[in-house]
Symmetry: C2
Subunit: 141 residues, 2 copies
DNA sequence: ATTGCAAGTGAGAATCATTCTCAGTTGGTC
DNA sequence: GACCAACTGAGAATGATTCTCACTTGCAAT
């Protein structure tokens, strides 16, 4: 697939950044791209993202803050999973065969799965500690 | 929790519709609400949604089409799973203990989970049949 | 190297979902 | 029945994303 894509300077710049970082939003991507190529525009970033998304090289996700994060498509399973910390906003990718288990379950339901997205929302270890400290102090409202 | 909410006519209308249907977007919700109350406005729908979302009664999801779908929050697990047909757009809710299995996995990763979202993208049974018919015809491009 | 053409690009306008503002309404309380 | 806070409709404002247009680039045939 990748051979049939026109890889311009800007497009591969966007893709390289995504390879190195993952789950970046459009503005983060623009900022990083401009370090290497100061004249690249937001429109080009979005166009590159759309281009790769159509070709299933990357995909976009939203975690509830009203904009998308982009990342390279996992070639092996076509699937992605994240932990999203609802306090500090940290996003961590996770992997594991449980996605395949879910896909098996989905097949049982007569769905032919091409991609699974799993988002787990909660508190990361760090914030979870802070939270329990806070809770013990909060008892008197 | 629900006792401490101010339930106006419009708010409970929105909530009732969501109870009966689930994963509706704002405009679908508005259209259905107007059948019962023709003067209700889009802003009120959005405000009701925001109000309930803050109180964890409902939550919003996006399936990649650029807008949100809303549904009642599953009280038992706090979690939701969907099959999204990428061809006809049909969304079906699914349930099952595998979400709890995932939550267990998440705990192992030191994440305290309050909510899990699982989206499985693929073809529903119906579209899957159409697709395989199409594929056998497509061999000669 | 030069020409020609399709695809790529920057800048800013346009779009679309969602949120906000403001002036008018409603509900409950005294 | 007056008051105040919360609710509401209408439309303006916002913010992410896409589109338009005029200019540039890259490659093919010459």
């Amino acid at each position: 697939m990748e051979q049939s894509m026109r890889m311009t300077k800007r497009r591969s710049l966007v893709l390289d950044i995504l390879r190195d970082h993952g789950h970046l939003d459009a503005y983060e991507l623009l900022a990083m791209a401009r370090k290497k190529d100061p004249r690249i525009s937001l429109a080009t970033v979005y166009r590159a993202l759309a281009y790769f998304r159509e070709r299933d090289v990357i995909h976009g996700r939203t975690f509830g803050e009203g904009h998308s994060h982009f990342e390279i498509h996992d070639a092996e399973t076509g699937s992605h999973a994240h932990f999203v910390c609802t306090r500090c906003g940290k996003v961590r990718e996770i992997t594991g065969r449980f996605i395949r288990d879910m896909e098996a379950l989905a097949r049982r339901e007569k769905f032919s799965i091409s991609r699974a997205h799993l988002d787990l929302f909660g508190l990361c270890e760090e914030c979870s500690k802070k939270e329990s400290r806070r809770n013990s102090a909060r008892r008197q409202g």
